[in-house]
Symmetry: C2
Subunit: 294 residues, 2 copies
């Protein structure tokens, strides 16, 4: 356990990520006090029961009063409203950060609302499970995972360094990335896979009676793994898709061309083409294993 990094940390949103930060920050002795806010009364009541925050506030503005660090942990579609609600209550010198999966939209929505003297350091921990809500969180969620910081040009360097230390002490590896580049990278490694997983579940659900029943009964590896990905939080993912629209549509367009080329190879029996594509998948898997990301 090291020195306290922030006297008071305010977490706005107490789902999987917010509640994991609360647990990990306390376990690591990173903060003096944790104030939690959640929009839903049920979540607030559950956070009180779990005892993972020192104080729980129904009002977001109340929650951030006197906080040295405020982290938005709600779905990105709620950020603009949340930022407007807390702006008058943020203290000068405070750091405002977030955990959203899209970064250009967050800078667009939150940036203009950040008061003079408050340091805005957008962040994205690449960590999660298919579960959601305050019960789903756990202190080890960020261990060995990347956290990407995407500070806009001109961001206070000392604040970036503090958020970097914050995430390192939660167990993460930290990298600084340009927001647009972040959004393109995440579109292919996370947003598109989720879109495909959600879609195939819908395709299966639309099948005629008997086959549909058997899809559930005989879900083999493949579909089963896709349904796990597709079990993720609907509001969070709806907001991610809508807030990384251009990069996501671009990656989906490339993917669709590639899938059509594969379909053509299957139709015309081009065995060499199919085998080559499959081998590229294996090669990428091996690279991931070497990079310890698998």
């Amino acid at each position: 356990m090291g020195e306290t990094l922030f006297g008071r940390l305010a977490l706005l949103g107490m789902g999987l990520i917010g509640s994991s930060i609360a647990r990990a920050a306390r376990q690591q002795g990173l903060v003096g006090e944790i104030v939690a806010h959640a929009k839903s009364e049920r979540t607030r009541a559950r956070v009180v029961e779990l005892g993972i925050a020192d104080r729980v506030e129904a009002d977001a503005g109340e929650a951030v009063l006197g906080a040295d660090c405020v982290i938005l942990c709600a779905p990105v579609g709620a950020y603009a409203e949340l930022a407007a609600a807390i702006a008058p209550s943020l203290r000068a010198g405070a750091i405002l950060s977030d955990v959203g999966s899209t970064k250009q939209s967050v800078i667009r929505d939150v940036g203009p609302l950040v008061p003079e003297g408050v340091h805005f350091v957008p962040a994205h921990p690449l960590a999660g499970t298919e579960h959601s809500g305050p019960d789903a969180g756990f202190a080890a969620l960020f261990e060995g995972r990347w956290c990407l910081l995407t500070p806009p040009p001109g961001t206070d360097e000392a604040s970036v360094a503090r958020m970097e230390e914050f995430w390192r002490r939660l167990g993460s590896m930290v990298s600084i990335m340009e927001p647009g580049h972040h959004d393109r990278t995440l579109a292919i490694v996370s947003h598109l896979p989720h879109l495909l997983a959600f879609t195939i579940c819908g395709t299966a659900d639309d099948l005629e009676g008997e086959t549909r029943q058997e899809v559930l009964q005989f879900a083999a590896t493949g579909f089963r793994d896709f349904t796990r990905i597709a079990a993720s939080d609907p509001v969070m993912w709806r907001d991610v898709f809508l807030n990384n629209r251009e990069a996501l549509l671009e990656m989906l367009a490339r993917f669709t061309e590639d899938a059509q080329a594969m379909a053509r190879a299957v139709r015309w029996g081009d065995a060499a083409y199919i085998e080559d594509k499959i081998n590229r998948g294996r090669k990428i898997r091996r690279s991931l294993i070497e990079l310890k990301q698998a």
Copy 2:
């Protein structure tokens, strides 16, 4: 341990599935003797080292001599040649079975080559991992998994019953299914998910320099899971795609329509449509968990 079901079992192909059958059948005391055949000398040598068969034969015809049950465990594209090679050596009354992921093609390729008096019972255990080769197999692979039998009309009922018992004693649940129906069901639960996983790996591999590097470095949940699926055996999957062409292309066409509808919703900001599709994914996941298939 129950009674011996077959005096001699011949396994043609000793990859993940063949070597798992060998291990499980011996562990369960299901067979008197196991004779293994593999096309590659390296695999045969490894099977000898592992000691998972009583005898290893380089010649498929030699391997099946006197066998009461012969199971084809090679990629389905090799079945026609293999069936032709063993046909003269099969003894009357023997059961010929397989483990291929496509069943209409197997009946088309192998059926006409089955000698009078030999009982052909096509089978497909829905079990596997992303690993391949004789070292990847393990005795518990089939436990709690489905094995689908797709006997063509007129198949000897006693032979079907024996294969049913064989798979049950390997730990599987068994169901009888019409071959065409099998192929349509597997196209959506297994073949299409693999095609999508292979394809997205190729799409990522084609990205421009910097983004491509970062895809590997920051592979988040989603892409990482897809690469695991995509690590599966290339020759096996090439053969599956080519041998379930019509059902696979039909399911891919439906999926592509659905993905395009999702793209349109993302482009035009149709939040309700996106959320509804995501919720269907969650519903399917819940059904799978209730059916204990997750």
